[in-house]
Symmetry: C2
C-alpha cells in the first residue's frame, strides 16, 4: 500500500483551492483555479483535472490517496454529503459525496467551508494542541466553526457554528440577511466597518477626505486610519471590538473553549484590534473563563480550508 496521502479542496465562490498533504499534514503541493460558473458537473470536472495535475506533478498515483475532503460554502447534510444549496454558485440539491466517490473511486467527505477552516487551524494552525475551539473568519461576512472534543460540531440539523448570526446588538443593530438583526456580522464584519465608515464620512475628517478622493472606503482603510490615530476610525474599531468581545464572552461563558481563533481580512488589524477585543471579553467573561481563554489570530490564512478538508478524511477514518 505504501504511503498514504490526503487531498483537500476548498470550494469558494470565485476560486477552488486544492492541496495534497501527508497524513501528518506535510504539504506536498497546492493548486488554485477559478471556480467554473454553471453546473456542478463543471466544478467536478475541474476537481478531477486539478487532482490529476497535482498527482502528476508529484509523481504520485490515485491509489496512493487515502481520500478526498471538500469544504463548500453551503448548508448541507454532512453525513450524507448532500448539499442543499450553494447560493453563490447556483447549486441546489447536489449529492456531492456520492458524485465525488463515483468520480474518484475514493472515500470522499464534505463539510461546510467555515468548519473545515476551523478544523485546519486545529490541526496545523493557531489551534494546534487544543480540542475546544471557537473559530471565526471576519471578512465581508463572518463565518464560524466550533471544534468541540476535537471534532467539528454540527448541531441538530448541521447549522451549528453560525457565529456571524449571534444577535449581539438587539437594540440599534442593523437588519441581517438571516432574518434577524444586530447580528455579529452586521456589526463587526468588513462590510459593517465600511457601513459605519461611510456614515462617519458624512462629517468632515480623514474618512471623508479618503472617501472623496477614492470614491469609496474599505475596512483596510479604516484599520489603517485608526492605526494612524484618526478618532472616527478608532471609534469604529472600538465599536467592532466591543461587540466582538461581548459576543465572544457570551459564547465562552457557556462553551468554555481553550482558544478563540479569529481569521479573515479584519483580523489583519492584529494586536491593534485583538487587544481591544480582549479587554471587552475579559470585562464580560466569568473570571476563570476570562483568565483561561486565549484569543489569537488564525495562522493558516487561505490554506486553512483545504487543509481542514484533508483532515476530515483522516478524522472520519479514525
Amino acid at each position: 500500500m505504501g504511503d498514504r496521502y490526503l487531498v483537500g479542496i476548498d470550494l469558494g465562490g470565485t476560486a477552488i483551492k486544492m492541496g495534497i498533504c501527508t497524513i501528518d499534514g506535510q504539504i506536498l503541493g497546492e493548486l488554485e483555479r477559478p471556480t467554473p460558473k454553471g453546473s456542478y458537473v463543471d466544478v467536478l470536472k475541474t476537481f478531477r483535472t486539478m487532482v490529476d495535475e497535482l498527482l502528476q506533478g508529484l509523481g504520485l498515483t490515485k491509489n496512493q490517496l487515502t481520500g478526498i475532503g471538500v469544504g463548500v460554502p453551503a448548508f448541507l447534510d454532512v453525513k450524507k454529503g448532500f448539499v442543499y444549496e450553494i447560493v453563490n454558485l447556483g447549486w441546489k440539491n447536489v449529492s456531492l459525496k456520492e458524485e465525488l466517490e463515483k468520480l474518484f473511486q475514493l472515500p470522499c467527505y464534505v463539510d461546510n467551508d467555515a468548519n473545515t477552516a476551523a478544523l485546519g487551524e486545529m490541526w496545523l494552525g493557531a489551534g494546534r494542541g487544543s480540542n475546544e475551539l471557537i473559530c471565526l473568519t471576519i471578512g465581508t461576512g463572518i463565518g464560524g466553526g466550533l471544534i468541540l472534543n476535537g471534532h467539528i460540531y454540527h448541531g441538530a440539523i448541521g447549522m451549528a457554528g453560525e457565529i456571524g448570526h449571534l444577535p449581539v446588538r438587539p437594540v440599534g443593530g442593523r437588519p441581517c440577511n438571516c432574518g434577524g438583526h444586530g447580528c455579529l456580522e452586521t456589526e463587526t464584519s468588513a462590510s459593517a466597518m465600511v457601513y459605519y465608515a461611510k456614515e462617519a464620512a458624512t462629517k468632515p475628517g480623514r474618512l471623508k477626505e479618503l472617501s472623496d478622493k477614492m470614491g469609496t472606503i474599505t475596512a483596510k482603510d479604516v484599520i489603517e486610519l485608526a492605526k494612524q490615530g484618526d478618532p472616527a476610525s478608532i471609534q469604529i474599531l472600538d465599536q467592532v471590538s466591543y461587540y466582538l468581545g461581548l459576543s465572544l464572552a457570551q459564547l465562552a461563558n457557556v462553551l468554555n473553549p481553550q482558544k478563540i481563533i479569529i481569521g479573515g481580512g479584519v483580523s489583519k488589524a492584529g494586536h491593534f484590534l485583538l487587544d481591544r477585543v480582549r479587554t471587552h471579553f475579559i470585562h464580560f467573561a466569568i473570571k476563570k473563563i476570562g483568565e483561561s481563554t486565549e484569543i489569537v489570530t488564525a495562522e493558516l490564512g487561505n490554506q486553512a480550508g483545504w487543509l481542514g478538508a484533508a483532515r476530515l478524511v483522516q478524522q472520519r477514518l479514525e
Copy 2:
C-alpha cells in the same frame, strides 16, 4: 451476575436525593435526607447509610450495582472526580471519586449537578430522543447544562454550560457575583424577578399591596399576579421573557440544539412564560433555527439530578 442496577445521588446544599434504577431507567426506589453540615466525611457516611437502606428495602445487595453516580453543586475536574470547592458546604479540594470508590468498592462518577440534571432530562425527561440539548434550571440562580452528541459537554476546563452567566444585558444590567454584569441570572432568575418586583412595589399597585401585606414578594407571586392581569407583573414577565428569548437565540444560532429545556421554579409559569420566550426567541433566531428548535419545560423535576447521575455510570461504561 444477574440484574444490574444504578444508584444516582444528587447532593444539594440542603438535601441529598438518592435513587436506584435499572439500566433502562426504571425507578425502583428513592430516598431524601438533609445534607449533613460539617466535613465531607459526614456526607459520605450519609451516602453509605442511604445506599444500604435503599438496597435493604429492595432486597438487593451491593454486588448487584453497576456503579454510583453523583451530581454535586461544584466546580470540579470531572475526569478525576476531584471537587475544587462546594461553597454552600464548605468543601475544598476533595478527591470525591476516589473516596467514593474506596467506600463503595464500585465504579463511581461525579459531575456538576446542573449537568446531571440535563443528562437526566435527556435520558428520561423532556429531552428523550434528542442528542443536542440546551438545558437551564431557573430558580434562585440559573444552572445550565449542554448535551452535545448525546453527552454532557464540559469544555476546556470543565466550566461549559454556565448559561446563567451569559451577559445578555451588557448595558443597564445588574452586577453579578461571577464578576460580570447583566448576566442571564441577574435578569431572569427568581431572585431577579423579586428584585424587579420590589422595585415596582415602590409605586402603588398590586405588587405594593402584596408587599405591604406579606412583608415580601416571591417570584411565584409575580407569576400569579401576571396571570391575573396585573400590568406591573406582566411587565416583569415580559422583560424576563425578552432576555430569556434573546439569550437562547444567541446560543441556539451558534449551537443549533434540537431542544431547549427550561426547568426550575420559574418554569412553573408554564405557557404563560414559554409562549412569550418563544416569541422573542423566534424574533432573534436564524429562520431555520427558529423553526427547528423546540422550547419545552423540564419533566423530571427533582428527580432529574439523581437520574442523570445514575445515567453517568451507564454512559461512562459504554
